[in-house]
């Protein structure tokens, strides 16, 4: 009985080898680039208003510029989130 159990466990080990992960390496996906830039842009610093006393229109233009910078950065963050989510789906499909 003892030997039978040992023999059975050896056979079971044989079956287990088929469930091991396949040694195929998968490259980490490259991040997407915007235009010719290869590295991801950082969110730029917001612009300040120079001068001691400026017309309100000048200040307003700076504010508009800053809002644009914010929305562009927000788009990039959204893009990254989308990139991560979809690349993860692609990556997980390989393991299934």
């Amino acid at each position: 009985m003892k030997y039978l159990l040992i023999a059975l466990s050896l056979f079971l080990t044989g079956c287990e080898t088929l469930k091991q992960p396949v040694p195929v390496s998968q490259k980490f996906p490259e991040p997407y680039s915007i235009g010719v830039k290869k590295e991801q842009p950082k969110c730029p610093e917001l612009q300040t208003q120079a001068g001691d006393s400026v017309p309100i229109t000048e200040l307003l233009k700076t504010v508009v510029n800053n809002y644009t910078l914010y929305y562009k950065c927000s788009d990039h963050v959204e893009g990254w989130n989308k990139w991560y989510k979809e690349q993860k789906q692609i990556y997980e499909k390989v393991g299934k």
């Binding site: 044989g14 400026v54 562009k72 788009d75």
Partner: protein
Amino acid sequence: MWLINFLPGWFFHLMIFAGILGYVASVVLTFIPSVNLYKSVIRVFSTIVIVVGVWFAGVASGTATNEDKWQARVKEVEAKVIKAQGESTELNDKLSAEQEENDKLRNQKAKTVTKYIDSWITKEILREVEGPERVRIEQVIEYIERCPVPKELLDAHNAAAKGEGMKK
């Protein structure tokens, strides 16, 4: 199991066949004196040959099956990886184009607002308006020209833009 790797698979089947043949001979060919004399030895030997042959044939076919399955799995995963790499590049191209388009749109929208502000500076806005509304716009333009934003308020704006608090 070097023996399995060393010997071809058909050898074990031949062993089984030879074992069966030997056993049958020990039963059927008893009329031959030499066979009859050693029939017990031949039976034991044939049985051992059959058992060993069956054992190795089973192990050899099992090993081959496992190896085949493993190789098939490796090929399947490799194909999936290649497909995934293609999909990944495609996704990057799509996102890259999307982001570039978004940047362009944001710049265009900002330009329209800046152009509108400029129309107040250049008084171009007056060209399109007549009547009492024109008077109100003239008052706004006068306010823009006469009332610059003081340094204290600019400092508040700059502190917020830099992400700093106000220094008292």
